[in-house]
Symmetry: C2
Subunit: 143 residues, 2 copies
């Protein structure tokens, strides 16, 4: 989660919403990214989507059953579904997201009967720090 | 929807799940694609995501408020959320998807109070043809 937080910090410096993600395969980080929606003009360029696409390209597979994802914020519906499609084994996230999360909030996608694959979910890692980064970022924007 | 169906047919010929999408801007198709998850080793390479990314690159914007999306199948949670993030104006889809859809089935994402932008939704266009393409594809696979 330290590495994911570092990616989130870098995203903030680029003017992006400060969310960071790292994909780990066999204890080794194989992909890391922060949000890049502004830089890439791509609304799908959330940190989670970027690391999944990086890792799939690296491993030449659209499934990542041995990989675990660390992300600073609870994934949105787009990312939560992508995590499921990629068959990611475990999801560790920092802060919960009442407004936009889709794992333990909102649609709770992994609890729907139609969900083909749900990762194991662990939450609350460096929660305060992950959330503070976002709160500070949006506060600065408003000021 | 004719063009989206043509993209779905092409996807089937490539061994991809036969779903096709077209993005229209001011009456003009500006991006079209079929699924490419197998070819690209990318679980996020659904037809809808591909056309959104193409169009955003073309228009150098992460928002497409003047664009309408035509897709042969009801979007999944990943694509439905991406359509919302991209601020797409209208969504026209062919067949409903009881098992994987997230617009009028499953989580019904656009009806959640947390949804920031919901496109106008119109469904049932060439429904039989769109659904038959998928049914035939999966039947052939099983045989």
């Amino acid at each position: 989660m330290e590495m994911a937080l570092a990616e989130a910090h870098k995203a903030a410096l680029r003017g992006e919403v400060p969310i960071g993600a790292v994909l780990v395969n066999g204890g080794k980080p194989i992909a890391k990214a922060g949000n890049r929606t502004v830089e890439l003009n791509d609304p799908t360029a959330h940190a989670e989507i970027l690391v999944i696409r990086q890792a799939c390209e690296q491993l030449q597979s659209q499934r990542l059953p041995d990989c675990d994802l660390y992300v600073t914020l609870e994934p949105c519906p787009m990312c939560a579904a992508a995590i499921s499609f990629a068959r990611i084994r475990r999801l560790y996230y920092g802060a919960g997201d009442i407004k936009g999360g889709a794992v333990d909030n909102g649609p709770c996608l992994y609890h729907l009967p139609i969900c083909h694959h749900a990762p194991e979910v662990y939450s609350g890692f460096a929660e305060t720090e992950c959330a503070a980064l976002l709160t500070d970022f949006f506060k600065q924007r408003r000021d």
